[in-house]
Symmetry: C2
Subunit: 200 residues, 2 copies
Amino acid sequence: MSSANSLAVEDLGSAAQRDRRKRILDATIALASQGGFDAVQMRAVAERADVALGTLYRYFPSKIHLLVSALQREFERTEVALRDKPVEGDTTADRVINVLKRTTRGMQSDPKLTEALTRAFMFADASVAAEIHQVGMLLTSMLTRAMYPEGHEVTEDDVQIARVIGDVWLSALVGWVTGRTNAVETGQQIEVAVKLLLRD
Amino acid sequence: MSSANSLAVEDLGSAAQRDRRKRILDATIALASQGGFDAVQMRAVAERADVALGTLYRYFPSKIHLLVSALQREFERTEVALRDKPVEGDTTADRVINVLKRTTRGMQSDPKLTEALTRAFMFADASVAAEIHQVGMLLTSMLTRAMYPEGHEVTEDDVQIARVIGDVWLSALVGWVTGRTNAVETGQQIEVAVKLLLRD
DNA sequence: CCGCAAAGTGGAACGTGTTCCTATTTTAGC
DNA sequence: GCTAAAATAGGAACACGTTCCACTTTGCGG
């Protein structure tokens, strides 16, 4: 189970190792941001991160692991940023829509990067389940936090609704990434779904 | 726009060409069914379809196009089968759930094939937009037909709801394909979403 | 400080998707 | 039926993800 996973930050003992990991993810983001999924080439990442190819594979066992881990780091940063700026909006639906639109806008401001991360996420197979699960939990918790003001209890139903919304958001993102929908339509799609799901 | 698309059946003049196309898609399905996405290797498909590699690429410009076109053909067959057997169920939600569960069961009976087709669908980039769009339309129309008995007018709102349901179904399928959820959970996920979305 | 196990380096090598090129076969128009 | 164009065959070649190996460096327990 754990043999094929990416090395998480907590697993890394020395500062040099944490730094290597950071350099690798930075290089990944930079290349993705510039040329999308195809531009994230393992040799290029290794070179840019000043790391041997074998080392890169020691930290991240595949290109997909690498990109999903990069997504995870970005998402964690987004979540921290959200914690600082509590969500505005009077109703549950409004707050959720605001969170999603803010996040979506952020991603749309760097289309190539979003394309790379989204496609990696969707292409991931069972070996990336652990990393994918992490991202899914982050997304769900971002949404449930938006649904309720501080301290409110979150029921199992709420989690299910959040998951459904997360699913729709992902599908909308995929549609946008693949050029089937534009930014406006993506926003509408999310709004429709949230309003339908949170109309109480 | 059209330069990079797969050759559709309508584009093919001669019977020999239609037959080649069919052989290629048959080979694709067979290989996918047996070994999943990775087993669908272009050389293997070409050999099994008794076609040169160059010819394969002339019919389908990439592995993704090939698999998405195979998905499209399978989906069209599913839709035809559904037309014959009208959906049972008293409420809108029941009918939609039945259609989706029936389709999902069909896919789960051939996990490798489903894995191959689903991953191709999710990995597709902008160059496959046309084929993807076709599949999306098929799915939406399957759902709207399930929502209403014959002849009822379908509003824009209905289409939007159908799209949201389709999104959730796809995400659920991806979760199942990647081993994050099992068959039961997948069914529940769909049921939850449909009940939330069609509760009027 | 030594010695050794773990981690990292540099690069060759392999598999599979994709491209390309040259013959050969099929098709269509006359 | 003949010929030019299009389609197909057969296969070499290339790109990039991935694996592997021999060597060097790092870090740590004694």
